[in-house]
Symmetry: C2
Subunit: 298 residues, 2 copies
DNA sequence: TCATTTACCTGACTAAAGTCAGGTAATGGA
DNA sequence: TCCATTACCTGACTTTAGTCAGGTAAATGA
């Protein structure tokens, strides 16, 4: 990797942790330990399940428990059993807690304003734009792509959202029963592969590969949630599927797609897929693509 | 201030502290408390005076002492009296300390690489560029501009560096004795004003104002160190001087400049200064400017 | 020369943050 | 129905980070 890039990243890390860290401590602290402040933030106006808090803040169960008791003693938070599962507790802010959160948010706002204040209008715009870019691309970098059981809850949720989107985008709607099959059992090794892209554990996209034998493979279920598009996730899913296909001995990879899905079509064209004659009778397909001569990547 | 800007800054803070913070702790920690790791970093290969370490890390004297003793016990650092001042101690890394620093830097490098690894080449370039921009502009925002005694060590250092630069840039060199005077006593209120721009306490630029009575003022000693140019520091110095001049009742502000100093000339033109006939016999001046009708800013 | 300042140190604290080993109650699958 | 799992809690720790009040030695300025 380019060592100037690494240098820049390290300089950035140092600069940002110094400046942001200093501001965050001064402003957010406000007499309260940082852990409690973060917890108030994370509970938020809608409240949160303790289980989720533990995951989001990556805290020890006992430690979190104690933090919550402390906030309860201060009258900022109340908690009770969750309605649907008696084991989990749901924490919500009291009126006092909400006004404390307001104060925190005001301070956070002030910290942001203090950072921008010394700059002129044009510099300010450029800084904000660059921050947006960094945030977006760091988000992209935090996306992981891993094989998953196509029958798992996350996988089902992805596919369901995917189908719902197709139903909205196709002029005549979409009925999964009418298209060609891709049952869960067809998408687990050795018959195929199902990948989920996750951001901080939450599924944000998926893609699948169906191995048809004789060096043939088919790409299915390529989808990225709307809020996470433009981060190169589909490209990474496709890369991973192609790598797996090549390792499974696939020479010809094909797929079909609907005319409404322009961004998908351009992804495939960009990746060397060529339009071919229809290879199936999918009523929702208007374009058929194939790519020959997959290479194993080093 | 634009609330979308503030929102973006806050989102950025959160995103960055989560991702960088997590990386920094995991990688840099490496079994060692963060404080000690930071200290090793800060001592660096050339060693450092304890006094400077205290200032740079903003640590309590007693706390720093203890951290140093701990590193000494681990055989990573040795310290002895400074040669020139028996009160200050100089800390240097031992061979073991240097190899520990190597390990730390390798980890930091790895963390940077891990951040970039999932991205494609183009995204990587954009992220690095945006990080550079953020770092640069946050540096710009951290610059403070304050009045200073023109006779202080920092002020003298600024002026000396300024003169040395003039001596290099002017074809025939520069001899301060031959130009018009701006003695320290002329640059303290109420006769005038001397401003120093600082980044983390270190002077990076200066600017002065000489009040000549009858609504006349003159800008002098405008300088920004080469490494900090392009951050809008000169603009902020000029703004501050103009503000002070307006408050002191100045109507006409003038200045002279050398033909070699293009960037200065364009700064003045951009700020509404108009070229006029020579108002002095400064042998180093080729352009004379003045600005009329200064306004008090709200 | 002598008081003051500066640089650093030690000892005695405290608060925050985090870990770990056990517990209890609710849930869910065999 | 029962047993493993999950979610959460409590108590008993440790480590890290930081503060504060004093103290010593070197340097500095009147």
């Amino acid at each position: 990797m380019d060592s100037r890039h690494l240098q820049q990243v390290r300089r950035f890390n140092r600069a940002v942790t110094r400046r942001i860290g200093a501001l965050a401590d001064d402003y957010l602290g406000c007499g309260r330990p940082l852990g409690e402040a973060r917890l108030l933030f994370e509970i938020g106006r809608e409240g949160a399940d303790v289980r989720d808090l533990r995951a989001r803040l990556a805290l020890d169960s006992g430690y979190l428990s104690r933090l919550l008791r402390s906030l309860e003693r201060q009258g900022l938070v109340s908690s009770r059993r969750a309605a649907d599962d008696g084991r989990v507790r749901r924490a919500v802010l009291t009126a006092k807690g909400r006004s404390e959160l307001d104060a925190l948010e005001r301070r956070s706002q002030d910290a942001a304003a203090a950072l921008l204040a010394p700059l002129g209008e044009r510099q300010r715009e450029r800084l904000v734009a660059a921050m947006g870019e960094v945030e977006r691309l760091m988000r992209a970098a935090a996306v992981t792509i891993e094989p998953a059981d196509p029958d798992s809850a996350d996988a089902r949720a992805c596919i369901e959202t995917y189908f719902r989107e197709l139903d909205e985008r196709f002029e005549g709607g979409f009925d999964p029963a009418r298209g060609p099959s891709a049952e869960p059992e067809e998408l687990v090794p050795p018959a195929g592969l199902f990948l989920i892209a996750r951001l901080d554990g939450r599924p944000v996209g998926c893609g699948a590969l169906k191995l048809r034998g004789k060096g043939m493979g088919e790409i299915k279920r390529m989808w990225v949630e709307p809020a996470s598009r433009g981060l190169g996730i589909a490209q990474r899913l496709l890369d991973a599927l192609e790598r797996h296909a090549a390792e499974a001995g696939v020479n010809v990879l094909r797929l079909d797609t609907h005319r409404a899905l322009d961004e998908a079509r351009s992804l495939y064209v960009r990746n060397g897929y060529a339009e071919t004659a229809p290879y199936n009778a999918n009523p929702y397909a208007h374009h058929w693509f194939e790519k020959r001569g997959l290479r194993r990547r080093s």
